[in-house]
């Protein structure tokens, strides 16, 4: 897995992250979303956590992850001279309200893999401005790993190890699923384009005609837009 990851980073750096371009832009948007998402998840943990000391520590971390997201926003603006448009993907449920500690376990894994990945990108010699920001973030993330370990320290070791293993497996599965989705996406795309160029022309006239008379005078025509009563099942 480590080897594959390193290979991926090296390839991406060579072909996409060396110079400003659409792939680099896409990556910055993704990195921004990841940082912002960790800030949000930690905020949810903070709301659930009962211990005031832990709450205060988490609050600091929420702000730090939020700052990381901002760092990518600033970097994007610096490189591409426009505002980064956030991804806004649906938030995933990482833990149940009664099991905040599972969130810390999740963060532990997330921090570790982000720190490793960022370190690889720095090593592979990416765009210099990106490198500068990543260096700053990697230092913080290493601190977060230690903090997550402290938060997890008070729990039974076997439970934590089992949870960490479960999350690692889940992430691994997810990355395969993502690849699968990507592939099906490509097939779907080709089918759609096939349809579009194959028989799209036959419908384009009808479609255009629909836009020519697009005004309804409902009263004059004696028609009313009647609300269909829902079938209510009790």
């Amino acid at each position: 897995m480590q080897f594959l990851e390193r290979l991926k980073v090296n390839l991406m750096t060579r072909f996409a992250w060396k110079k400003p371009g659409p792939r680099l832009a896409e990556t910055l948007v993704k990195f921004e979303a990841t940082e912002e998402d960790s800030s949000w998840h930690l905020l949810q943990g903070l709301k659930q956590e009962k211990d005031c000391q832990k709450k205060a520590k988490l609050f600091q971390q929420v702000l730090e992850e939020f700052r990381h997201a901002e760092e990518f926003q600033f970097l994007y603006k610096e490189i591409f001279a426009k505002k980064l448009k956030s991804l806004k993907e649906e938030r995933q449920e990482l833990f149940r309200k009664t099991e905040v500690w599972k969130l810390y376990a999740f963060c532990r894994i997330g921090e570790e893999s982000a720190a490793k990945r960022f370190a690889h990108i720095i090593e592979a010699d990416c765009e210099p401005r990106m490198k500068r920001v990543l260096k700053r973030i990697v230092a913080d993330e290493e601190g977060h790993i230690e903090e997550a370990d402290v938060l997890l320290d008070v729990l039974p070791i076997h439970e934590v190890t089992a949870e960490l293993r479960r999350i690692r497996l889940k992430r691994f599965k997810e990355s395969w699923m993502r690849m699968g989705r990507h592939l099906t996406g490509i097939i779907g795309k080709s089918l759609l384009l096939g349809f579009y160029f194959g028989i799209g022309w036959a419908f384009s006239k009808t479609a255009n005609a629909r836009f020519i008379s697009n005004r309804k005078n409902l009263k004059k025509e004696g028609r009313e837009l009647v609300y269909e009563s829902p079938r209510i099942v009790f």
Partner: protein, 593 residues
């Protein structure tokens, strides 16, 4: 009967729970997810609604979705095919979204909630808008007007709403359909002015005040008048290919390229703008005039054809408070109502109310504080304030505090203490009880400060909200102050919910200058008597002689209004906000040991 209303997949997802005709809970998903205008499935809002009503998903009788996906799919498909063969990319991206997800909304809702698909129904979008306005208006009969970007096909609807056998009827008189859309027309120019569509239409309205409407005739070539109706000239704007970049070659030849930069206009200080900026401001002013003309005509037609003296108004267009005030002035109009959240964010409420009312259950509630409730912060003393210095917003020039101090006060002391802080020129974050649904903070998630100090307005724009200086602030006032400040006022909801731009009396301008726009108007909130914000204003009046403060939504640029105390504390820590009030807890920044 328990009806869950839902809206998602476009912008401003939301959920609302109506039990026996009353809204029990409603919230925009963005308030939980912290993603502004979040369009995803409103999972957390649904959980919040069910928890609030203390019911399980199985207790829901009907789930009502705010539009009809298959009808909408027809429109999206037709639009994508209309520009064949030049729309391959757009066709592919919209179809993969629709075929992969959006078209199966009913099944998606059922499977995500784990309920019987038969319980899920989809409604006509403009009927939902009409219902969201009429059913909370309390009117017995009324004309209705709906103006938004686009629903399934409809973009503008006028009609008559009334009660028959204890059930509401919505009789549509006339409808305009895509692409002839006033909303899309306004949004297209919003993009042209350098802002984001479906987000910054208010910036277009604010910018308009700095311009002269000298391009009205020219822009009327884009939106062609057709009696009371209008047609969009597709030689200039083509939405089929992209809602984000609809400008044709003819358009850019006539009007130039979209603005790219930062406007130097300011609502708070004298600033010279470049010729180029002035041009775009003049365009904004002209677009605003055309929009106003169009909605006034539509409102008049709705009143006339429905033979009513009442009007209810909904859809995103109803967020334009300058136009709203002009509609209010129509002489034939007696009663006028706009729901607090007239846009798609409020359509979950509309959908749920509609289904309930059709079953004979409608209580006509108008509560706007239907969101999540705030809880006090327990960890202020544990925060290592000095450590937070590095997370402060970039560019702040002020000192970083050494510590935070927190105290909990009695009700009476609270109002005195906070009024005093405001009087001393502090900027106060004010978080109370349940959050407001809708885009405006109405005194439960607000930032408050003195109205007669423009320097404070500048501080809030630059060091707290990160907001463009040409965007004005609004005023919250008690009835006494309203009588002194506003050219006219009324006790209706329009004045309670900041839905109108009202001229300020000349002699009062200096007293409230930081909440008045360049055109001498303000969007007032006249505080509901005995509400917490009203009590605060009464105390403030004792000190300053005028019960009026500036009230702006508690958020940073790009983020939704804060929902919880923790989010409020984040902004407090990151910015130059001086005081944070959460319920009766007052937190201040200390700069000395």
């Amino acid at each position: 009967m328990k009806v869950l209303g839902l809206s998602f997949d476009y912008h401003d997802s939301s959920a609302a729970l109506v039990v026996d005709g009353s809204v029990v809970a409603a919230s925009l998903e963005e308030r939980f997810s912290r993603l502004k205008h979040d369009a995803n499935f409103p999972k957390q809002s649904i959980e919040f609604c069910l928890a609030k009503a203390k019911i399980d998903k199985d207790a829901i009788d009907v789930v009502a979705f705010y539009e009809n996906p298959s009808k909408k799919f027809g429109r999206v498909l037709a639009a994508a095919l209309a520009s064949w063969p030049n729309s391959a990319k757009e066709f592919e991206s919209s179809m993969s979204q629709w075929l992969g997800k959006k078209l199966w909304t009913k099944t998606r809702i059922a499977s995500r909630l784990g309920i019987d698909p038969k319980k899920v129904i989809t409604l006509d979008h403009h009927t939902v808008h009409a219902a969201q306005a009429f059913l909370s208006s309390g009117f017995q009969e009324s004309a209705f007007l709906v103006v938004d970007a686009v629903g399934e096909w409809a973009t503008t609807s006028i009609g008559r709403a009334y009660w028959k056998d204890n059930k509401p009827e919505f009789q549509f008189i006339r409808q305009s359909e895509y692409p002839n859309s006033l909303g899309l027309f306004y949004s297209a120019f919003t993009i042209f002015l350098g802002f984001e569509a479906m987000n910054s239409e208010c910036s277009t309205m604010a910018l308009a005040a700095f311009g002269k409407p000298q391009y009205v005739q020219k822009i009327k070539k884009v939106l062609l008048a057709d009696g009371n109706d209008y047609k969009l000239n597709q030689n200039y704007l083509n939405f089929h290919r992209s809602l984000q970049l609809p400008f044709t070659k003819e358009f850019t030849e006539e009007f130039g390229s979209p603005f790219n930069g930062k406007y130097s206009f300011s609502s708070f200080e004298k600033k010279e703008a470049s010729e180029e900026e002035q041009y775009y401001a003049d365009i904004a002013a002209s677009v605003q005039v055309i929009f106003e003309e169009a909605v006034i005509n539509l409102a008049k037609e709705a009143l006339k054809k429905s033979e009513s003296k009442n009007l209810v108004y909904a859809g995103g267009g109803a967020l334009n408070c300058v136009a709203n005030e002009k509609i209010r002035k129509i002489s034939e109009l007696e009663k006028f109502y706009i729901p607090n959240e007239p846009g798609d964010g409020g359509s979950a409420v509309g959908a749920a109310l509609l289904v309930s009312a059709r079953s004979g259950l409608c209580s006509g509630t108008r509560d706007v504080y239907t969101g999540d409730e705030v809880e006090p912060l327990t960890f202020i003393d544990q925060i290592e304030t000095k450590e937070l210095k590095k997370f402060r917003k970039k560019g702040l020039t002020s000192d970083s505090p050494l510590s935070y101090s927190s105290k909990t006060l009695s009700d009476k002391d609270l109002y005195v203490e906070v009024a005093k802080a405001c009087f001393e020129g502090k900027v106060v974050g004010w978080v109370q009880d349940k959050a407001e649904i809708g885009p405006r903070a109405l005194g439960n998630r607000s930032i408050l400060f003195r109205a007669d100090r423009r320097d404070l307005a500048l501080k809030v724009s630059k060091a707290i909200k990160d907001r463009a200086l040409f965007r004005p602030y609004a005023l919250v006032m008690n009835q006494n102050a309203a009588n002194q400040i506003l050219e006219e006022s009324d006790s209706c909801e329009l004045f309670e919910w900041m839905q109108l731009a009202i001229p300020v009396k000349e002699k009062m301008i200096n007293e409230v200058s930081s909440g008045v726009h360049i055109d001498r108007t303000t969007r007032p909130q006249i505080a509901k008597q005995k509400s917490k914000i009203d009590k605060l204003l009464q105390e403030y009046e004792k000190m300053s002689g005028l019960g009026c403060l500036v009230n702006t939504s508690f958020n940073e640029s790009g983020l939704p209004i804060v929902n919880s105390a923790e989010e409020a504390l984040m902004q407090f820590a990151r910015t130059d906000l001086d005081v944070l009030v959460v319920g009766n807890q007052v937190i201040v920044k200390e700069f000395r040991c």
